[in-house]
């Protein structure tokens, strides 16, 4: 067998392929070892993360800048990464009394993030516990913040009386003070919901209905008054216009009479003739316009003109 092996090894081709194979195997083996070593001693931190290096289970170092870093292989050191981005905590709705004793239902929110990963892992350990702690802190301070605010600091038609900014700033300051010791940072606290207890909303609806009834009545009354004003104004305009027209008419007639006056004055030279002519003219007009029954006596002017003719007729009859 050994001779056979010697024989096999002895040929030049066998020697060449055997050497190449060994080199390839060695290369692959070295590459695998390098990769394994890198895997065990390097870790990367992404730009939205922070990492804590635990040496034998204890946090010893923080890595907050993104990039690759070195560590001892497991079990000496291992890495815990945390997401340091902003998170939302929505607090539950709670009934709270305001400074002036009005009950309101308030819901708040907190925008927070992990600021100190090492402290966070030491004090809390995971995001769930952080959320629970923040909720508890929020509950404690929320009632205090609202109870030191009057009702019209939360809703008022006078915008200058609203105190949302102050309430939210006070809540943020209170939460931040406690969150710092847990490795957290509170970026914002806000009121996301404001309501009233159920029984209070019943009386709100009753008031709204009564207000609407009053408003509807006022609107109708205003409409009627406006309509009356419009009509009266139009009537007054009509009267004014007619008055002006009548004055104009009188002026026109006065001017006409003034124009006619010289003719009339001329006729004063023989008043009897002038009167007779007027009577004849009147008689012509009456007889031209009317086609109905006329009843008169000779006493009536201008029918007194007929008196002489009447008397002559009577005398002839006698």
């Amino acid at each position: 067998m050994s001779d056979l092996t010697t024989e096999t090894r002895g040929t030049p081709e066998a020697a060449e392929s055997g050497g190449a194979g060994r080199r390839l195997t060695l290369t692959v083996a070295i590459a695998v070892v390098i990769v394994l070593i890198l895997r065990m001693t390097l870790f990367t931190v992404q730009d939205h993360e922070a990492a804590v290096v635990l040496t034998f289970g204890k946090p010893t170092r923080e890595q907050t800048t993104p990039g690759a870093s070195a560590k001892a292989p497991w079990p000496i050191q291992r890495v815990r990464t945390v997401d340091k981005r902003l998170r939302v905590l929505k607090g539950p709705l709670e009934e709270v009394a305001t400074e002036d004793g009005r009950a309101v239902v308030v819901g708040t929110f907190v925008l927070w993030r992990i600021a100190s990963p090492q402290m966070f892992l030491e004090k809390l350990g995971d995001v769930g516990k952080a959320t629970q702690r923040l909720e508890t802190i929020l509950h404690t301070h929320q009632a205090a913040a609202i109870s030191s605010t009057p009702f019209e600091g939360l809703i008022s038609v006078d915008r200058s009386k609203l105190r949302y900014r102050q309430v939210e700033a006070a809540l943020k300051a209170a939460l931040q003070g406690e969150a710092e010791g847990l490795g957290l940072e509170v970026e914002m606290v806000g009121i996301r919901r404001l309501g009233l207890p159920k029984t209070a909303t019943e009386s709100v609806f009753e008031r709204m209905r009564k207000d609407r009834e009053r408003l509807a009545g006022a609107i109708l009354e205003r409409g009627r008054r406006t309509a009356d004003t419009i009509r009266h104004k139009a009537q007054a305009e009509r009267n004014d216009r007619l008055t002006v027209a009548q004055v104009e008419a009188r002026n026109i007639l006065s001017k006409a009479e003034a124009k006619a006056r010289p003719h009339i004055q001329r006729m004063a030279a023989d008043p009897s003739l002038a009167l007779h002519l007027k009577k004849v003219e009147a008689l012509k007009k009456i007889l031209a316009e009317q086609s109905t029954t006329l009843v008169f006596t000779p006493q009536n002017s201008p029918f007194d003109l007929l008196r002489r003719a009447w008397k002559r007729t009577e005398e002839k009859r006698k």
């Binding site: 990039g67 939360l154 007889l287 006329l294």
Partner: protein, 354 residues
């Protein structure tokens, strides 16, 4: 050196060949794996995406356009960012609806008060209640990764900030002005939301804010609000009717005034022309009267009368000339036959008496 037996030589050759083949195959596999490894570095970006390469955890600032790109596998990560604006809906200020009610688009029935744990609403500045559903359109600001680097869930952050902005915007408005001027409410809510996002450096831009469901009062007060609407319509109707009547009155006044002036003008012309005509007639007659005495005057007057009466009696219906003295009785009777009979009887009696 011992000589090999022929059979031993063949076995050695076969083994040598097998080993050589195995190494060639192994080489081939390694080359193939290498190609696959490098090939896994290719990635594509869709038309609505931009891309960044994260190398050892750190983002490269170079923004990659849509298309095909390559990066080192394992070492580099390809980060895709969808640049399309996203819509965040907020129904926290609306009544709770069942699936059926949502499908039908109807409001649920409610009586009595509202449980804030179930039904949402906005409180107005005059302590009234309205419901609304909002939808906000937000887009990532450049660099597009800012939003995702800033918060774990950008939709959740947007939603709570929108709730806060809406509560603030409603808190000083009266319910009437809120329901009438919805655009103003949306504008102030949008501005407050954008201010909050900018202050937080959230990397988001508000592109629009709309009413997903309209601002409206609760079912418990809907009828009362409708009543106000009806009263407004009625009042408008009264005003419009009064305006129409006023227009008619004014127009009639214009016509009447014109008629008065026209009548006066016509009468004025008549007065002047009549006076002129009378004077002409007077001037024509006066010289002849001046020459004669009273007889001539009487004759002239009779002639004038005769001229006036000439032809006039054709137009007049009936003329009764009654005596100057004695009683005058006028009887109006519908039944002419009856009157005729009575007159005939009277005449017969008078004739019989004579």
């Amino acid at each position: 050196m011992t000589e090999r037996l022929p059979s031993e030589s063949r076995a050695a050759d076969a083994l040598e060949e097998a080993v050589g083949l195995a190494f060639r195959v192994l080489k081939g596999i390694i080359v193939l794996l290498g190609i696959l490894f490098l090939g896994s570095g290719f990635f594509t970006l869709e038309s609505h995406e931009v891309g960044y390469v994260r190398r050892l955890g750190q983002l490269d600032t170079e923004r990659l356009a849509p298309g095909i790109h390559w990066r080192w596998p394992v070492v580099d990560d390809a980060v895709r960012v969808d640049t399309r604006p996203r819509t965040v809906k907020l129904d926290g200020f609306d009544l709770y609806r069942t699936k059926r009610e949502i499908a039908e688009g109807t409001d649920p029935k409610r009586e009595g008060g509202l449980d804030p744990a179930r039904d949402g609403y906005l409180l107005t500045g005059d302590a009234n209640i309205v419901h609304v559903e909002l939808a906000v359109l937000v887009a990532r600001r450049s660099p597009h990764t800012e939003a995702d680097l800033r918060s774990v869930d950008i939709d959740a952050v947007t939603a709570v900030l929108l709730e806060r902005a809406a509560v603030h915007s409603a808190a000083y408005r009266k319910v009437e002005s809120l329901l009438k001027a919805k655009t103003s409410f949306l504008d102030s809510t949008r501005q407050e939301l954008q201010a909050s996002l900018t202050a937080l450096e959230a990397g988001l831009e508000v592109q629009g804010l709309q009413l997903a469901r309209d601002l409206r009062p609760s079912p418990q007060t809907k009828l009362a609000f409708d009543y106000v609407g009806q009263a407004s319509q009625q009042a408008d109707g009264l005003r419009a009717s009064a305006e129409r009547l006023a227009d008619r009155i004014r127009n009639q006044a214009v016509v009447e005034a014109a008629r008065v002036q026209a009548r006066a003008s016509s009468r004025a012309i008549e007065i002047v022309s009549d006076a002129a005509a009378d004077r002409r007639q007077f001037d024509a007659l006066l010289p002849s009267l001046a020459k004669g005495g009273p007889e001539r005057r009487r004759a002239l007057e009779d002639r004038l009368l005769a001229d006036a009466l000439n032809g006039a009696f054709d137009k007049v219906g009936e003329v009764f000339l009654v005596a100057e003295e004695g009683p005058l009785r006028i009887r109006l009777e519908r039944d002419v036959t009856k009157v005729r009979r009575e007159l005939q009887d009277k005449v017969r009696k008078e004739a019989g008496g004579e």
